[in-house]
């Protein structure tokens, strides 16, 4: 079919898609060009118009990247990010799977529906609210600290303790999103044919063996997919959540790559330096997604996208 005929036939559909495409082009693709400031000594005060400021700012080549790689604070942020990622992978990732198996085994519909409704709820609370709730329970003026104080113990305050910060952040994440995470697994479990369980039972498999040989294999593709997504997202560990608590514990324990970029760029107005750090993070992240997906393919799973 000639292009003009197709254009005429599809014009309504194309017009419908246009707003989305425009929004994505402007707010997801156009800013990519702005990354050129990483190769400049960008001066925002040249003009009110950012484009003119970029055009007039001096080019410095890879100097900003050299600064980034030479800064020990950057490497501290990298370390914090990776440590936090590993803690979350070990302590957070398995919980939704276990909860989903538990809920799935509950046979009373009312109990199941109630538990699900309660466990989904925190996912919809804002990080501001979640952290505030935690502060009221675990903070220095919180309910535990007060109870301890009445019994003569002073100085209980988990919210400002750099030592436990990474576990605290993981715990907050579990509180907020572990319940939400079970949905995907429950959805995968509903697609398992009861015949498989019956056949396994006929062959003498008890409930643990059925879980091992029927249930878990059914969850395998979903687990692989979510693992790939998590690994690809390794350098993005809870930006909003950590930013909100950064001041309370100090950057030593709380600085991750995203907050590092925010601090240097937005707070210190060192846009070129922060943009360079952002590019480093973006490139490594993209590499992680591709690598994780490759591993999923090698394991015989589909991963995020097909080959």
């Amino acid at each position: 079919m000639p292009l003009r005929v197709r254009l005429r036939r599809d014009r309504v559909l194309i017009l419908m898609t246009l707003p989305v495409v425009l929004l994505v082009l402007v707010f997801n693709y156009l800013p990519i060009l702005g990354n050129v400031v990483a190769f400049q000594d960008y001066d925002p005060y040249i003009s009110d118009n950012g484009v003119i400021s970029i055009l007039e700012s001096p080019w410095v080549g890879v100097e900003q990247f050299q600064r980034v790689f030479g800064d020990s604070a950057f490497w501290d942020a990298v370390t914090n990010t990776l440590v936090l990622f590993i803690i979350q992978l070990v302590l957070f990732f398995p919980i939704p799977i276990l909860l989903a198996l538990l809920i799935n085994s509950v046979l009373r519909p009312r109990v199941r529906a109630f538990a699900q409704a309660v466990l989904y709820l925190p996912h919809f609370f804002s990080w501001v609210l979640v952290i505030t709730v935690f502060q009221q329970i675990l903070g220095g003026a919180g309910i535990i600290a007060q109870t301890l104080r009445q019994r003569g113990y002073e100085g209980f305050d988990l919210m400002t303790d750099p030592e436990v910060f990474k576990f605290l952040v993981t715990f907050e994440g579990v509180w907020k999103d572990a319940g939400w995470g079970i949905i995907v697994f429950l959805a995968a479990l509903t697609s398992v044919s009861p015949d498989l369980y019956e056949a396994a039972a006929m062959d003498g498999a008890n409930r643990w063996r059925r879980m091992w040989h029927v249930t878990l294999p059914a969850l395998r593709p979903v687990i692989a997919l979510l693992l790939v997504l998590r690994v690809g997202d390794a350098l993005t560990v809870g930006f909003e959540q950590i930013l909100l608590q950064r001041d309370a514990v100090g950057p030593g324990a709380a600085e991750v790559l995203d907050t590092y970029v925010w601090w240097n760029g937005v707070r210190n107005q060192d846009f070129s330096y922060a943009a360079a750090a952002g590019i480093v993070k973006g490139v490594v992240s993209l590499g992680l997604v591709l690598a994780a997906n490759k591993i999923a393919h090698l394991m015989g799973e589909q991963g995020v996208y097909k080959k």
Partner: protein, 301 residues
């Protein structure tokens, strides 16, 4: 009542549950549910307590006694928190309406394979799930577009979520083509088909995605802290950061708190209840559709 709590019939081949197993399950589920509900209970009860009750409890209140709505009355009688709540409601309503319109149109447009440019438009959206432009360039763009210190800065930069569009598209593609084709033969255009056939069939997923967008706008604070400098424009979440995390009394209420009529803690808790109430009320209604939405979105990609 027993019927409501009755178990599903158990297949004959399945073993009877052991008492220990049942008790274990019950304990784990109860602990998990309490871990969610207990903090919320404290927040709500404390927000409803009088200054005297809070002082006697030495802080947060566990058992409701002498319920009073004074904190809410003060917060909602005009002033900083009232304004912030109205701003949040406004941004959420306008933003959600905008996001839904754009997303539904886009998802429907992309749900027809064979449309001109269909493949590369889809690729364009999908690619954004793998990389972002970065915080600094986005910040510079919003500045250059002149959106700083406007409410548009809270809506436009994060107006559409590619994930949500994919969920909608997956759902639209599942609708049998015979239905839409017969309407087309009867002379209906795409907009008409979308409005009279596809949307009524997609109520469940529309409800889920609307909730996702609305919660996103309601919970957002970062864009406001980044792009707004005027304190009077701040939405509720940002005011909550000031009140609760930085321990500043709300503008207009500082006097009442100093004069001792009002507990600072009750005020903070009341703001938190205002922030969580809409979400806690709305999400259970949409809950039964979550699974379907997440299934089309996440598993089938």
């Amino acid at each position: 009542m027993t019927a409501l709590w009755a178990a599903e019939p158990r297949p004959v081949w399945e073993e009877k549950p052991s008492r220990a197993g049942l008790a274990g399950k019950g304990v784990v589920l109860a602990v998990a549910c309490l871990a969610v509900l207990f903090p919320l209970w404290i927040v709500v009860v404390t927000s409803l307590s009088s200054k005297q009750t809070i002082q006697e409890a030495g802080g947060l209140v566990l058992i409701p006694r002498g319920i009073t709505f004074i904190a809410y009355q003060e917060l909602l009688s005009g002033g900083q928190v009232t304004r912030a709540a109205l701003i949040s409601v406004g941004v959420t309503l306008v933003g959600t309406a905008f996001s839904m319109t754009v997303s539904v149109l886009g998802a429907y447009g992309l749900s027809r394979s064979g449309t001109l440019g269909h493949r590369w438009m889809l690729m364009l959206l999908l690619a954004t799930m793998f990389f972002g432009a970065g915080l600094i360039p986005t910040y510079l763009l919003v500045q250059t577009l002149g959106l700083t210190d406007t409410y548009l800065a809270l809506i436009l930069p994060s107006a559409v979520s590619v994930f949500n569009i994919l969920v909608l598209r997956g759902f639209f593609m599942g609708i049998s083509p015979e239905l839409t084709d017969s309407a087309r033969i009867d002379g209906a255009g795409d907009l008409r088909i979308l409005w009279t056939i596809v949307l009524p069939l997609s109520r469940a997923v529309i409800a889920v995605i609307t909730l996702f967008y609305a919660v996103g706008y309601w919970s957002a604070w970062f864009n406001a802290s980044l792009y707004l400098s005027d304190q009077d424009m701040m939405p509720l979440q940002n005011v909550m950061i000031q009140l609760v995390q930085k321990q500043e009394p709300p503008v207009g209420l500082g006097q009442a708190i100093k004069a001792g009529q009002l507990s600072q803690l009750a005020v903070q808790m009341a703001v938190m209840v205002m922030a969580l109430l809409p979400v806690a009320v709305l999400s259970p209604f949409v809950q039964k559709h979550f699974k379907k939405g997440m299934l089309t979105g996440a598993v089938k990609g």
